[in-house]
């Protein structure tokens, strides 16, 4: 029977009430006394030298309060990359300064070089236009194409970085010789060159920030659209502005989606703080959508060659990849980890492939910074791998289901060390594949093909079986790999005197439903109704510390921290109960909200214990402090490894090349599941984005570095009409072995597993329809690309 609360229940989301009634509290909804407005001047050229910025005329315009340029920030710090990557030759990556406002040069269309603060938004906007008119920028030759960027040492995004190369990374360098030899000797090698298309994350809430400064105390407050307010505070304090951490509060209230793009600290956040200090008034900024397109960190943008060596039965022998990864004009906070440790380490997939070697060259270009977007590196790895396997099956005329199955790491092989550095704890890939095939009614497929043909449509089926790594990350491992931060999570569980509970978590919800899920968790553990448990997140002044939400880590790392804090509450409760019940501590058992002396009916309720902790009249004060509040920091022992099998059926219109997704099936293994409704919703959302990447979305810079797809008129977001109902299942569960909840994370799976399933299905449809010359079509698989491929016989 479905539970009506606690772990495993599809509890309805409590946060929905405020969102459904228009009472959400997003950054731009705030209105502050005396507030002023910031508007940024952004480069209209991809690459240019700032000759002069004349602000005299603007300073006298109505309402103008302050004007900032790069000069004002040239002596403060820069926004750093969070991971140091070393090249194959051992040299550290090249790391240019990323200033608050561009100084000396502008390096991409949208690069902010000045900001105006005025009494009203309209005045600030008019004034920013005047600054732009009074600015002289000498246009330089733009660097857009990655191959050209590394080939031309004289034309540089950053004058001090030759070849525009950030790093040339090998993973694992020791595998290289063995992989080369295996590929040379292999009976068959399948080679595929592909592009993982650049995407704009497009959270529906544009980025927004409000800076406040309180001269009386010297305190600062930043309200901002962030997925991890503590990291933003750390970066602003320690790297950019030098504001002591204890004088800066960062609040991320309701945040309207992130998908990676709001993990990072952006210069606008520093600017509103600096301006607030100067004016001693609140300074607010909200991006227009066009600004978001130009200045949010983008995702993906890999050009990859992958080679898969096999025997003639399709047993994998070796994999080698070479990738050019675009990092854009500056290094965003996770930009160096995404194409490396979140990508190369996944290149063995769920398969027992003896040797793998991954080479990634990260390239600077005159485009917006590129960083983690839902899945971050793992979609790129999965796409390369699942596409090349599909191509190999066609070349050797093998069944794609059988080939995957025979190469799977089988359940008896776990824990399993891959040749690319991960140690998978659990999994059952055969079970998820079985489940997906059963859900898809594979046996009935030929009849569906015939039915589609009657309607003039070519039907195809595509498979993708995948594994990913979540729960970022064991700090010691991350440190060895170049991370400049720890990746634990923190939680405080505060039992109030009347027995209800406040939980402060460092994880941040921007759509994931933490307020509901974390309450379920605590309710299950303490036997308290969910309605008596409050989840507090997104405010550095209320929460001990936190690393925020990304990498599907909230439940596995943040939830585990809460679980550990609850352990401490229970342990202290037992001490209090032992005293009150005049029993030995070891004899106290806690279950269903009661502390009981084992084998007796002597018991104290949780509420009685809480009350006693705050009104300690009958209490062991000699040995125990009053109060009932505990904090835990949880550092994961390993990554978690969600996995699954995705099956997609498409119909291709042979006359137009239009692809329609007819069926999308997901059989996921997320380990234990706390709220099935929310888990399914996460998968739906991920698959929706994956179908968007596969069929619609593309970020296009022209040869001058102009972003041609800079609005919803030009960038094809998936709409309700572009996607089907998805058929999702998470009943195959191999619980994670190293976190207390046995959970693996579900936030990114859909976006990781789905793009190759869609593209494989399109290729399958074309082959079945007689277009077997089509070996590959790059994403997005638009009607024009499909049609052109069909005609290119």
């Amino acid at each position: 029977m479905p539970k009506d609360g606690g772990i495993g229940a599809s509890s309805k989301r409590r946060e929905d009430i405020r969102f459904l009634t228009g009472r959400g509290n997003y950054t731009d909804d705030l209105s502050l006394h005396g507030q002023t407005y910031a508007v940024f001047c952004r480069s209209t050229v991809a690459h240019g030298r700032i000759v002069s910025i004349d602000t005299k005329a603007t300073a006298d315009m109505p309402g103008v309060l302050a004007i900032f340029t790069g000069e004002d920030f040239k002596d403060v710090g820069g926004n750093p990359a969070g991971w140091l990557i070393n090249s194959r030759d051992g040299t550290p990556m090249r790391e240019p300064k990323r200033p608050v406002l561009a100084h000396g040069k502008v390096r991409h269309v949208g690069d902010a070089y000045a900001a105006v603060i005025a009494e009203t938004y309209a005045q600030a906007k008019d004034a920013a236009e005047q600054v732009a008119a009074d600015t002289e920028i000498e246009e330089l030759s733009p660097i857009v194409d990655m191959a050209k960027a590394v080939a031309n040492a004289d034309n540089r995004v950053h004058d001090e970085i030759p070849d525009n190369l950030c790093f040339d990374w090998g993973w694992i360098e020791d595998n290289r010789a063995a992989v080369d030899a295996a590929i040379k000797a292999a009976p068959h090698v399948t080679t595929l060159e592909l592009i993982n298309n650049r995407l704009v994350p497009n959270a529906m809430e544009p980025r927004a920030s409000i800076g406040e400064y309180f001269p009386g105390t010297g305190d600062y407050k930043l309200t901002t659209t962030s997925q991890n307010p503590h990291l933003t505070r750390l970066l602003v304090s320690a790297f950019v502005m030098g504001i002591p951490e204890n004088k800066l509060t960062v609040v991320a209230p309701d945040v309207g989606g992130g998908f990676g793009s709001k993990i990072y600290h952006y210069g606008e956040e520093a600017l509103v703080l600096a301006a607030a200090r100067k004016l001693a008034r609140p300074v607010r900024w909200t991006a227009e959508r066009s600004e978001s397109f130009l200045s949010d960190a983008h995702g993906r943008d890999h050009v990859t060659k992958i080679e898969l060596a096999t025997d003639l039965e399709g047993n994998f022998l070796a994999i080698r990849t070479e990738t050019l990864a675009n990092v854009g004009a500056y290094l965003s906070n996770f930009s160096t980890a995404t194409p490396t440790f979140l990508h190369g380490t996944l290149m063995a997939g769920p398969y027992k492939v003896p040797s793998v070697y991954v080479n990634v060259k990260a390239v600077f270009t005159n485009t917006a910074p590129v960083d983690a977007y839902r899945g971050a590196g793992r979609p790129e790895a999965t796409y390369s791998l699942e596409r090349v396997i599909d191509k190999m099956c066609r070349e050797l005329n093998l069944n794609p289901f059988d080939v995957r199955r025979k190469n799977f790491i089988t359940p008896d092989m776990f824990p399993y060390a891959t040749p690319v550095g991960l140690n998978y704890d659990t999994g059952n890939h055969g079970a998820t594949l079985d489940k997906a095939m059963q859900m898809a009614n594979v046996a009935g497929f030929e009849a569906r093909v015939a039915d589609s043909a009657k309607r003039g449509k070519l039907r195809g089926m595509g498979l993708s079986t995948w594994v990913e790594a979540c729960g970022l990350a064991p700090s010691h491992l991350a440190g060895v790999l170049g991370s400049r931060v720890g990746l634990y999570e923190a939680a405080t569980v505060r039992v109030n005197a009347t027995g209800n509970i406040s939980v402060m978590t460092g994880a941040h919800s921007h759509g994931q439903g933490h307020e509901t899920v974390f309450a379920q968790l605590v309710s299950e553990r303490l036997g308290i109704p969910e309605s008596s448990i409050e989840i507090v997140h997104g405010d550095t002044s209320k929460i001990p510390f936190g690393m925020g939400s990304y990498g599907s880590r909230s439940l596995s790392v943040g939830g585990s921290a809460i679980d550990r804090a609850v352990d401490k509450i229970v342990a202290k409760g037992k001490k209090i109960a032992a005293h009150m019940l005049e029993a030995a501590e070891d004899d106290i058992v806690f279950a269903n909200g009661n502390f009981t002396v084992a084998g007796t009916d002597k018991a104290k309720s949780f509420g009685e214990i809480a009350f006693s902790a705050y009104v300690p009249h009958n209490y062991p004060l000699e040995t125990l402090e009053p109060g009932l509040e505990e904090t835990a920091f949880y550092d994961p022992g390993n990554f978690t490894y969600p996995a699954g099998a995705y099956l997609c059926e498409v119909e291709v219109d042979a006359d137009t090349g239009r692809v329609e997704v007819a069926e999308f099936i997901c059989a996921d293994d997320f380990g234990n599941v706390v709220n099935p409704m929310i888990v399914e919703g996460q998968v739906h959302g991920g698959v929706g984005q994956g179908i968007g990447q596969a069929l619609c979305e593309n970020t296009t810079y022209d040869e001058n570095g102009q972003l041609v797809s800079a609005s919803y008129m030009d960038y094809a977001m998936p709409r309700a009409d572009d996607v089907p109902f998805y058929n999702v299942d998470h009943s195959c569960q191999t619980p994670c072995t190293h976190n207390p909840l046995g959970v693996k994370g579900c936030g990114e799976a859909g976006a990781i597993g789905s793009p190759p399933a869609v593209v494989n299905a399109v290729i399958d449809a074309l082959h079945r329809g007689g277009y077997s010359h089509v070996k590959h079509i790059d994403m997005p698989v638009t009607p024009s690309r499909v049609w052109a491929a069909m005609q290119a016989k």
């Binding site: 929905d16 309207g256 959508r289 919703g681 009409d721």
Partner: protein, 161 residues
């Protein structure tokens, strides 16, 4: 500046607007009704949908002055008189039709306009009608289910689950 007066959610409200002030900004910044959201600058996303004189409109496409004297319903005016969620809002909660909640006001306003003109829409009619509302979180699955449910149809059967 010109004085603009509207009936909003049954109450008369007025404020000063510049010639260029959009209805969306007027509702949010002047009247303080921040439930109506702004997600784009090209009239594509639908986060700003409100009802003006009974019709769903993108409030970012209208000047506040052009709406002067009009009767506007926003998300803040959708709940039942006792404050409880109305049928559509309740269906969105029951079927997890929202995640970050940013597109949600526009979705609810569009869905309610759809059901007013077509009380029992098919799945494809719903998808077609909601084309002007972008959601980045849900993949639309549960939004479509919620609208089916709000129309009294069995959403689970239609979503083949």
């Amino acid at each position: 500046m010109t004085k603009v007066t509207l009936t909003v959610n049954g109450k008369s409200m007025s404020g000063e607007a510049e010639g260029r002030t959009l209805l969306a900004s007027f509702l949010r910044d002047t009247l303080g009704l921040t439930g109506t959201h702004i997600g784009c600058d090209t009239s594509q996303c639908g986060a700003c949908v409100v009802h003006l004189d009974g019709k769903a409109v993108k409030s970012c496409t209208l000047l506040a002055m052009d709406a002067d004297g009009g009767n506007v319903t926003t998300i803040e005016g959708m709940a039942n008189a006792d404050g409880s969620l109305n049928t559509i809002q309740q269906a969105f909660q029951d079927h997890h039709g929202l995640q970050c909640g940013f597109c949600t006001p526009g979705m609810v306003m569009s869905a309610s306009a759809l059901l007013a003109e077509n009380p029992k829409p098919t799945e494809s009619e719903i998808r077609h009608y909601l084309e002007g509302n972008i959601c980045r979180c849900t993949g639309y699955h549960n939004i479509v289910k919620a609208v089916l449910a709000a129309s009294g149809q069995d959403a689970n059967v239609m979503a083949a689950e």
